[in-house]
């Protein structure tokens, strides 16, 4: 009997050791495979129609699954600082086909399809297509018009269409009052920093999606910085007019009482005065990179 | 009675004999009322046939039962005899409406076999029974009993009584999947007689049972007979048939070959005498010894009755010790084997001739 027990223990220990080896080996294999740089997220089936047929009557569930995949895809790419988001549109295309009433998919898509790399896929035309589909399937959801307007305004820079979108959305009795105001403002002025800030602020405040909120925050900071720089520029110009020379640093502006104190950008870095007396972002500020990218657009 | 090879005439003769017997039995019961229909037997079968299509496109037909016509009388124990595949089970299944005849009709207790309500007076034990193995014996009997429209109290009482009668009282709460074959056979019997049916039909009730089990089944059949029930059962064990049946029907190759009391079916003509004797070496060369079969110092020889006494004298002279002298009577087994062999010969003859 003792022999049997010893045998059993030995066997159990061997099995355990075996599993530990398998575990360690798997970790090694994982590490090796990342060097392969395989597109791990290949979509084998790209046709939304086929997927819908295959889902039999479980399309809403499949839609939710594909939506989850889309979010995970975006998250991973973002985490790895990979700018290639080419699968985002197919994933959202399938999700919205499988479940046309999945509101969040449209809203998520609207933001991350249209936004320029590295934050998004840079395909605003696809975002428009997605949103129009969303509006067709959910005509009562007025916020799609808001999203549509945002896409036209920020990424397509088509202010006529943006104004029209806001106008259309404002007709819904449930819509917020500022939709109508925004429609008029954009129609009149086109792009303006105040408008941009207001639009991003609303998104930031009303969204329940973490990724969307984070992205809105990034944009808000940038717009705020732009507004600050504009105001600072005006102050610098005022100084140049008064002192008959361009400002050399912020100290100049503070000393002449034009500024109450050292203004900080939204990242917490102090603004500086550049060579030609123009207001600029601090070279150490992380906003600088984004700002330069915005300027190139 | 003619020899068994006479086919149709023999069969007809047997039917006639059966009718005569029936008439005799009725008169023995002390007369019969004018109202009683003389042809109303408990089970009447007329030209019952069953064909199975087989082969390519089911064009060919295999006759598993051909033109069975017979009857079973009230209070009778009737046995179907025959080799495997002869058509005994087919007949019983036809009667129980598990399969449908391609020709012919049958009536049980005066009602057509199509009348399912008549099943209330029939008990049936299928061949190699298998029951819901997730139920216990008690639950199974209770379940089956519910189809017989008994009052609840009556039902419980009967179920209990049946379990006791077949000796399963102690095992009644065990699931049937744990039962041995013999126990299943007993459960089968119990559910067959639970509702005290007038007719009890048993398909190979002794199969797979040990001698004790077989004895128990035999006892139950005899009890049923004593209670005046009609019992119809099939078997290929000849000794059971000889012991239990009032009448026997021999089915071979789908046809009824003979019907009658077990003793009547065989040629009662004696076939001589058999002498068993012992002789030591001193006997020398008796010409008789060559005709005998030998085991050690014992010899067995068959001879016609006429030669008996002369042979005995010769043996006495040779100093042999006579062990026994018996009359040779053909048994049901020989009759049976003869039928089977004839049938096989006929079948192969048909094959050779190419239909």
């Amino acid at each position: 009997m003792n022999r049997r027990a010893n045998y059993g223990l030995l066997l159990g220990a061997a099995l355990l050791a075996g599993f530990v080896c398998v575990w360690k080996l798997q970790e090694k294999v994982d590490a090796e495979r990342t060097t392969l740089r395989l597109e791990a997220d290949e979509l084998t089936l790209r046709s939304p129609g086929v997927m819908k047929k295959l889902s039999l009557e479980y399309a809403p569930l499949m839609g939710a699954i594909y939506w989850t995949r889309a979010v995970q895809y975006y998250g991973q790419k973002h985490h790895m600082h990979d700018q290639n988001l080419e699968l985002l549109w197919p994933l959202l295309d399938i999700s919205s086909t499988l479940d046309p009433n999945l509101i969040v998919a449209y809203r998520f898509g609207a933001m991350f399809l249209s936004d320029a790399p590295p934050r998004g896929a840079g395909q605003p035309e696809k975002a428009v297509e997605l949103l129009e589909r969303g509006i067709k399937a959910n005509p009562d959801f007025w916020r799609f018009y808001q999203d549509l307007g945002d896409v036209y305004y920020f990424d397509e820079k088509n202010y006529l269409k943006a104004s029209q979108a806001f106008e259309e959305g404002s007709r819904n009795p449930a819509a917020m009052g500022w939709m109508k105001i925004m429609a008029a403002k954009i129609a009149a002025e086109g792009e303006s920093l105040e408008t941009s800030y207001a639009l991003w602020l609303d998104v930031y405040q009303t969204t329940t999606d973490k990724d969307v909120r984070k992205n809105a925050e990034v944009h808000l900071r940038l717009v705020k910085a732009q507004m600050d720089l504009r105001n600072l520029g005006q102050v610098a110009d005022e100084f140049a007019k008064r002192a008959r020379r361009p400002a050399r640093s912020i100290i100049d502006l503070i000393q002449t009482g034009l500024l109450p104190g050292q203004p900080l950008d939204p990242a917490g870095f102090p603004y500086v005065i550049g060579e030609n007396g123009k207001a600029e972002l601090n070279p150490k500020s992380p906003l600088r990179e984004e700002w330069l990218r915005e300027k190139k657009k | 009675m003619g020899a068994p090879e006479d086919g149709a005439p023999f069969f007809f003769w047997e039917l006639l004999a059966a009718n005569i017997l029936r008439h005799r039995r009725l008169t023995m019961r002390g007369g019969f009322s004018k109202n009683m229909d003389m042809s109303q037997a408990a089970i009447e079968i007329e030209n019952l046939s069953k064909e199975y299509p087989y082969g390519f496109l089911s064009l060919k037909k295999r006759k598993s039962l051909e033109g069975l016509t017979m009857s079973v009388e009230d209070g009778e124990v009737f046995g179907f005899l025959g080799p495997n595949g002869a058509g005994k089970s087919t007949t019983i299944k036809l009667l129980m409406r598990l399969i449908f005849p391609t020709a012919g009709t049958a009536r049980i207790l005066g009602k057509s076999i199509d009348d399912v309500s008549m099943h209330g007076s029939i008990g049936y034990l299928p061949e190699q029974p298998y029951f819901y193995d997730y139920l216990t014996a008690h639950e199974l009997l209770d379940y089956f009993a519910r189809f017989h429209q008994l009052k609840a109290s009556d039902r419980t009482a009967r179920v209990q009584a049946m379990l006791k009668r077949v000796g399963l009282d102690t095992a009644k709460k065990i699931q049937l999947r744990k039962y041995s074959k013999g126990m299943l056979q007993r459960v089968g019997l119990a559910q067959a007689i639970l509702h005290d049916p007038q007719v009890v039909v048993l398909d190979e009730p002794m199969s797979g049972l040990d001698p004790l089990g077989r004895r128990e089944v035999r006892d139950i059949i005899l009890e049923l007979k004593r209670d005046g029930r009609i019992v119809l059962f099939s078997t290929h064990v000849l000794s059971d048939a000889e012991m239990l049946c009032d009448r026997v029907g021999v089915i071979v190759g789908g046809k009824l070959r003979g019907i009658g009391a077990p003793g009547e079916l065989v040629d009662m003509k004696e076939q001589g005498m058999e002498v068993l004797f012992e002789v030591s070496g001193a006997a020398g060369n008796l010409p008789l010894l060559e005709k005998a079969t030998r085991t050690g110092e014992r010899y067995r020889v068959q001879l016609p009755e006429a030669e008996l006494y002369s042979t005995l004298d010769a043996l006495k002279a040779a100093g042999a010790r006579i062990l026994s002298v018996t009359q040779i009577k053909p048994t049901l087994e020989e009759y049976f084997m003869h039928l089977v062999e004839t049938d096989r010969a006929q079948a192969s003859a048909v094959e050779v001739s190419g239909k």
Binding site: V71, D99, N101 | G120, P126, P129, F131
Partner: protein
């Protein structure tokens, strides 16, 4: 009628003692737990995912039970000859079949109710007060049950005249085909001749239109289900089931057992 009741009660008992059932229900409850987990990684649609995953699990598992048990119930009896002793009793063959049907439908009702309770518990654990709109989930569950009853009837029909394997195949096949029946009606193409179109339309009406019982899209997003849909689906199910069971009864009544 009492015979039907007797067979139904025994069928229910048989299903309950069949351990496969417990595994499936356990699996379903596991799905509810999974739904909660999945909901946490699907931002913004936690409740939608729980409802859609829960209803899908109830539907899929219910279909598995309906098909496999539905086929097994009759096939197993014929195979193992448990039917022999039963049919020797004063019970008609169609009574037996109806009893099997009702017994299995009872089983499915109990299972579905248990799984629906699991779904409500999962939902409750995620968003504590249950809204009135959550009552519509019951409508979806009820319609799923109607669908399962129809599938059981089909499974019984097929197992009356084919082998168990083929019966499962046919039943599953009709289920899938029935889901696309609506599409068959609206099919259009340049080179399809009118005769074929008419044929396809005819087939589309003959097939059981299983989409009639599908309201998942609406219920998942908290929208309601009109009473008219529930009512008409019920009528459809009753009518179609009656037709199928009649066919099954006719076939079974004439069948020669082994």
């Amino acid at each position: 009628m009492r015979n039907i009741q007797t067979v139904a009660a025994n069928t229910f008992r048989e299903a309950v003692r069949d351990r496969v059932l417990y595994n499936l229900v356990f699996f379903a409850l596991l799905m509810m737990g999974a739904a909660i987990l999945v909901g946490q990684i699907s931002i913004g649609i936690e409740q939608d995912v729980i409802v859609s995953l829960g209803l899908s699990a109830i539907s899929v598992i219910g279909i598995f039970i309906a098909v496999f048990l539905g086929v097994a119930l009759v096939s197993r009896e014929m195979d193992k000859r448990t039917l022999y002793a039963l049919l020797a009793k004063p019970v008609k063959r169609w009574e037996f079949l109806l009893g099997k049907f009702f017994g299995l439908v009872m089983t499915l009702t109990v299972n579905t109710a248990a799984m629906a309770a699991g779904l409500y518990m999962a939902l409750w654990s995620v968003k504590h007060p249950l809204l009135k709109s959550d009552a519509f989930i019951l409508a979806a569950v009820y319609l799923i049950l109607l669908k399962l009853a129809l599938i059981v009837a089909l499974a019984l029909l097929f197992s009356c005249f084919t082998t168990p394997f083929l019966a499962i195949l046919f039943t599953a096949g009709i289920y899938v085909a029935g889901l696309f029946a609506g599409d068959l009606r609206t099919i259009h193409g340049v080179d399809i001749d009118p005769g074929s179109l008419r044929l396809m339309r005819g087939i589309s009406y003959l097939l059981p239109n299983f989409q009639n019982f599908n309201v998942m899209g609406a219920v998942v997003h908290g929208r309601g289900v009109p009473a008219a849909i529930v009512w008409h689906a019920t009528l459809y199910a009753i009518l179609y089931i009656a037709i199928v069971l009649t066919g099954a009864a006719v076939i079974f009544s004439r069948r020669n057992l082994k």
